[in-house]
C-alpha cells in the first residue's frame, strides 16, 4: 500500500523513531485528538437521541401519542428509530476506524524502532 503523501518532520522516517519521538510527533497527537473528537461527537448524537427520546415520552405525551397509522402511535416508530440509529452510529464508528484510524496507526507503528 502506498504511503500517503504528508508534510512535516515525520514523513520520511521509517523504523527509526524512538517511542518518545512518536509520542511527541504532531501526527500522533493529531491522531489521539481525532479519535476523541469522533467519539465525542458520536456520543453526543447518541445522548441527544436516547435521552431526547426518553424525555420526549416523559414530557410531551400529545406529540408521541399522535397516530401515524390506523392505530399505530408515533412512539412506536420513534423507539424503533432509536435502536436503528444507535446501531448506525456504531457502524459509522467502525467504518471511520477502518478507513481512517487504522491506516494511520499502522503508519505510526512502522516508524517505531524495532
Amino acid at each position: 500500500m502506498a504511503e500517503p503523501a504528508r508534510s512535516g518532520p515525520s514523513t520520511d522516517s521509517r523504523g527509526n523513531k524512538s517511542a518518545l519521538q512518536v509520542l511527541d510527533s504532531p501526527d500522533f497527537k493529531a491522531l489521539v485528538k481525532k479519535r476523541w473528537s469522533v467519539s465525542m461527537v458520536l456520543l453526543a448524537l447518541l445522548f441527544v437521541t436516547y435521552y431526547g427520546f426518553i424525555l420526549l415520552l416523559a414530557t410531551n405525551k400529545a406529540f408521541v401519542t399522535q397516530k401515524v397509522g390506523e392505530v399505530t402511535t408515533l412512539a412506536i416508530p420513534l423507539g424503533v428509530a432509536v435502536i436503528i440509529f444507535a446501531w448506525l452510529l456504531t457502524a459509522y464508528y467502525v467504518g471511520w476506524a477502518n478507513k481512517s484510524y487504522d491506516p494511520e496507526v499502522e503508519r505510526l507503528k512502522s516508524q517505531l524502532k524495532r
Partner: protein
Amino acid sequence: MTHLGVIQQLVLQQAQQAAPQATTTLGKPTVASIGFFFLIVAVTLVITYFAAKKTKTSSEFYAAGRSVSALQNGFALAGDYMSAASFLGISGMVALKGYDGMIYATGWLVGWPALMFLVAEPLRNLGKFTFADVVAFRLRQKPVRIAAAIGGILTVLFYTIAQMVGSGALIQLMFGLKYEIAEIIVGVVMLAYVLFGGMLATTWVQIIKAGLLLFGVTILTGLVLARFGFNPGNLYKAVVDQYGQPSLEPGGFVANPVEAVSLGLALMFGLLGLPHILMRFYTVPDAKAARKSVLYATGLIGYFYLIIPIVGFGAAVLTPGGRAFITSIDKGGNMASPILAEQLLGSGFLGFIAAVAFATILAVVAGLTLAGASAYSHDIYVNVIKGGHATEEEQVKAAKTATVVFGIFAVGLGILFKGQNVAFMVGLAFAIAASANFPALLMSIVWKRFTTMGAVWSILVGAFSSCIMILLSPTVWGEVFHHLDAAGKPYGILPWKNPAIFSMTAAFVAGIVVSLVTADQGAQDKFEDEKLRTYLGVGAE
C-alpha cells in the same frame, strides 16, 4: 424498582403459582421439554470437553487464548447480554403493559455504542484478563486491584444472585422441579462448563445459546406476523381492539424525568462496568477485532430488541384468554413467550423455547462465575498476594478454586434469597457497575492527572453510595423491608428508585477531587508510555 421489575415478578410468583389450565403443559415436564433440555445440556457439555483439552494455561482459561474471532465474540457478547430478563421479561412486559415494554428494549441497547466510543479499544490494548488491569495499568497495583476487585465482585455477585433466584423460579414453573433442586442443577452444570472448559467453553456455550435464542425468537416473530399478513399495523390493530389505544402509548414508566434519566444512565453506563462483558474483550486477538465484535453484538442485540415486542404483542392477542391467561400462569407475564410458542406450534416448540430459556440462564451464570473468579484469582491472588509472580499452575489452580467457591456461594445465596425481591439486586448490579467501575475505568484511560488514591476513592465512593442509596430507596426500604406510610404505600428515606445519576456523579467527583489533592508522579510519567499502547496497540497482548 422500575428497572427489571420483570425478574422481581419471576420470583414473586413462586409463592402464588396458579394451577396451569388445560391448554398448556407449563409446569408439567413433558417428553419434549425434557428432551430438548438434555439435548442442549449434552451438546454444550461435549463442547466443554473439547474446550477442556485446549485449556491449559491461564491465558487459555481466562481469555480463550485470545483466539476468538470477531464474529464469534459478537455472538458471545450478545449471549452474555441477552439474559432471561430480556427474553422472557421484555416480551412479558409488552404482552401485559404494551408500549412501556418497548422503552426497556431501547434502554438495553444504547449502552453498546457508548461502550464502543469510550472504552472498547483502550480496554483491549491495555488489559490482560480483567478490567482492573486497565485501571491499575499505571497506578500502584495493590490498592487499586483490591478496590477494583471489590467493585467487580460486588457487581457480579448481585447480578448472579438475581439470575440464580430468577432461574430457580423459572425452572420451577417450566419443568415442575423443586426450587432447591433447580438451583443445584444450575450450579453443577455451570461449574462443569467453567471448571473444565474455562473461557473457551463459556464462549462457545454463549455462542450456541445466542444462536438458539435468536432462532427461536425469529420463528416466533415470523409465526405471529404470518397471522397478520406480515403487516405489524394489523397486529397493533388487534391489540387496540382487545385492550384499547393506551397499549400503544407510553404509560407511567417515564413520568418522572429525573428518574427516567437516572435509569437511562444506569442502563447505558452500567454496561461499561459489567466485568463479565468487559472480559470478553480479551478473548479476541486485537483492538480491530474488539471493535468489530461490538458492531456484531450491537446488531444482534438490536435485532433481538426490535422483534421481541412483536412476540409480546402476539402473545397478548393470540393466546385464548389473552392477558388474563398469561397472568394466571405467572403474574409478571414472564411466561408469555413460552405460552405463545405452545399456542403456535404445540408443546414440542414450548419444550424448545423452555430449554433455550434454561440455556440462557446457565450461560449467563457461567459467564458471571468466570468474571467473579478472575477478579479474585487474577487481581487479588496473583497480583496482590503473590506480588505478580505466580506460576501458570498456581494461577489456574487459584482460578479453579475461586470458581468452585463462587459457584457454591451462588447456589447457596440463590437458595437463601428464595422468594426475595431480586429486582433490587439487578438494579444494584447495574448501578454499582455504572458508579464503581465505569468512572475509574474511564478516568484511568483519558485523564493524565488521575492518581492511585483517586482511583481507590472513586471506586469505593461509587460502590458504597450506590448500595446505600438503593438500600434507602422506596424499592428496598419500602417494598423489601416493609416501611409503609400512613396510606399503606411503601416509602423510602430517599425518593428515587435509581441512584445512578447521583452515585455516578459522586464517583467522578471523588476521583477528580482526590486526584487533584494527591500526587502520583509515577502515574503521570507512565501515562505517556501508556498512550502508545492505548492508541497504537504497541505491546498489547
